[in-house]
């Protein structure tokens, strides 16, 4: 072993002849500097507090929105009580307010949107994750992402200029002829209508539902897919047996998230729904939503009771979307959390 050591010393000597010359007088400048540095406990504590305060800000903002809305709508709440939610009157002149047509319009337009969007977005997600060739998959998911990023007002503009005339001249007459007997598609046909709002909302929530569906479907382990295929299942059977049941909860979460978005969507709906506070059976008749009435009338509210009633509508909208979103998040978390712990 000593022979080995000697050999190593020679190697060392050759590799860095100035090894001893590199040694500096201790303590070196670096060491003196660092020893003089004080402890960072104070700045670290300050930093952490600052970060914590920012995180809590998010909390405070949501709480603040709730309290502010509740406080500002106290007059309407006191005046109309619970009947505000189911009364149909909306008359600023006689100061008689009820939210029923708006709640109705919000629910119907959103459900209509889900009816159109859910089958389409789930099948798109199935297509993209399970069937599509990879290069096409990338561009398709990019396109759906873009679809999600287009501003509401641009959708509205397009709907107003392209969709509404198309509905009025081509689609609505057809619907009236074939399905008019149901009562859901009766004239007069204005073009701007509940149906137009439902269609544009469907286009807007498609990318949300489809991207979340894709996300949860991709958390289904490959082994599950292979197990089904190994048993001789066709691709569709594999999707039905292994993929969809595993992703069920997450897809439900995505749908509810889409619903949340549809309930609160303002601009595009305001531009095409017709803005009439009446409840009609026909989907071709104009309607009104909670978000649209806020957009249209908030700056015109002249009396304090009128303003207070509008803010109460905002409060209702806030509470509904909070519940819907919370539900959606919990469902999505329950799927993706489980998946990440499986992977870990």
């Amino acid at each position: 072993m000593s022979g080995k050591l000697a050999e190593r010393d020679v190697v060392n000597g050759r590799e860095s002849p100035s090894a001893s010359g590199l040694a500096v007088a201790r303590p070196s400048a670096a060491r003196r500097y660092l020893n003089a540095q004080s402890d960072s406990a104070f700045s670290d504590g300050f930093f952490k507090t600052l970060m914590l305060a920012s995180a809590l800000t998010i909390f405070v903002i949501v709480l603040f929105i709730f309290l502010e809305l509740a406080w500002q709508s106290r007059m309407a709440i006191a005046h109309f009580g619970i009947s505000f939610l189911y009364r149909s009157a909306w008359n600023p002149v006689s100061e008689d307010f009820g939210a029923r047509p708006f709640i109705y319009g919000t629910l119907v337009s959103s459900l209509l949107a889900l009816l159109i969007a859910v089958p389409l977005s789930v099948s798109t997600a199935v297509f993209i994750t399970e069937m599509c060739p990879i290069p096409l998959r990338r561009s398709l998911s990019f396109l759906t992402e873009l679809l999600a990023a287009i501003p509401s007002v641009v959708y509205g503009l397009w709907a107003l200029v392209v969709l509404v005339p198309l509905l009025r001249t081509e689609i609505n007459p057809f619907l009236m002829r074939t399905l008019g007997w149901t009562g859901f598609f009766e004239g007069p046909d204005y073009g701007v209508s509940m149906l137009a709002a439902g269609v544009i909302l469907a286009i807007m929530i498609l990318p949300i539902i489809s991207s979340i569906t894709r996300e949860v479907m991709s958390t289904v382990p490959q082994s599950q897919r292979e197990a089904a295929l190994a048993l001789g299942a066709t691709r569709w059977e594999m999707i039905r047996i292994s993929v969809l049941p595993n992703a069920r909860l997450g897809i439900a979460g995505g749908i509810i998230l889409g619903l949340g978005r549809a309930l609160g969507e303002t601009m595009a709906v305001t531009m095409v729904i017709g803005n009439r506070p009446e409840i009609a059976r026909s989907l071709l008749a104009p309607g009104y939503t909670m978000a649209s009435v806020l957009a249209n009338e908030f700056t015109e509210a002249t009396t304090s009771l009128y303003l207070s009633a509008l803010i109460e509508i905002g409060l209702v909208l806030f509470l509904v979307t909070i519940v819907v979103n919370a539900l959606a998040r919990l469902l999505i978390w329950s799927v993706t959390r489980g998946a990440s712990s499986r992977m870990a």
């Binding site: 909390f59 397009w158 066709t234 919370a326």
Partner: protein, 289 residues
């Protein structure tokens, strides 16, 4: 006999498979169609309406042809600056807290949850809350209040992306900084955040692009203004607001301007979404093991 039954079962299964595939393809086509339609129409209408005056002129009075949206472009710039100054620091700091200080605690889960919920609060509701807080107290509409509303809406996106990107930074990198005796705040700022910076910047851009197109919260905060203004305590124009007003107007020339404005907005958004995609596909933490 039995074989024939089996065969017809096989055929039926194959048929169902084709049917399902066909439905999925059709679904995808129906989804892509409106997007392509919107884009094609937007580019066709917008490009033919876009001209130099659009960027350099303020709107003409009702009925007169011409004019542009300089006021709205400048206004959106002011609003987005205020929004970014509020939303980005708070969002990043909250993301840092979630990723670095509170990985498993109840409080962080609550904050995460609230951020997701805030993301789903309708923008018009945020507008009302800011209206009651700022506009009512100041007694006038202002650029500042509009910026606050947009800033609030940026926070959740920035927070969640920051957290996600920070969690991608390898533990070994944090340990290296700790082992050198670098103060905690310094290693978070100069090492961890810097390592994740590409991802965080793209997250901020995404949030920026989203609120750039927001109209509803500005209706009763920024309010709109036909003149160019830079003052924070005055009503101010914004691109999406102006598009809305022009879109629902009966004048052809205003429709033309609305299309041009939409094209400008979409351009901004497409660029940032593509950038986000480019950076994330290339690997946010290139070189980090």
């Amino acid at each position: 006999m039995q074989q024939r039954i089996q065969q017809s079962g096989q055929t039926w299964r194959r048929w169902k498979n084709h049917l399902a595939t066909g439905t999925a393809v059709l679904g995808a086509l129906v989804v892509v169609a409106p997007l392509l339609a919107i884009f094609a129409y937007l580019i066709y209408k917008g490009a033919s309406s876009l001209n130099w005056a659009f960027f350099t002129k303020v709107p003409k009075p009702v009925g007169e042809i011409g004019g542009g949206m300089e006021n709205a472009i400048v206004g959106s710039g002011v609003l987005l600056t205020v929004a970014s100054l509020i939303g980005i620091p708070i969002g990043i700091a909250a993301g840092v807290y979630l990723a670095e200080f509170g990985r498993k605690r109840l409080l962080s889960n609550l904050v995460r949850f609230t951020a997701d919920v805030l993301n789903g609060v309708p923008s018009i509701v945020v507008g009302i809350a800011v209206y009651s807080l700022i506009v009512v107290t100041q007694r006038h509409f202002s650029a500042f209040s509009g910026g606050v509303a947009l800033g609030i809406m940026m926070i959740p996106t920035v927070t969640r992306t920051t957290e996600e990107m920070l969690l991608l930074v390898p533990h070994a990198v944090r340990e290296a900084a700790l082992g050198l005796g670098v103060p905690n705040w310094r290693s978070t700022v100069s090492i961890t955040l810097r390592t994740a910076s590409a991802g965080i910047i793209t997250g901020c851009m995404l949030a920026f692009a989203r609120v750039a197109g927001e109209t509803a919260p500005l209706l009763f905060t920024a309010f709109g203004n036909d003149d160019k203004s830079l003052a924070l305590n005055q009503p101010i124009a914004a691109l999406p607001l102006q598009i809305f007003v022009y879109a629902v107007s009966p004048y052809n020339d205003w429709h033309r301007l609305a299309w041009a404005g939409s094209l400008v907005l979409i351009f901004l958004i497409v660029v940032s979404v593509s950038l986000v995609r480019y950076v994330t596909s290339r690997g946010v933490l290139k070189g980090a093991s």
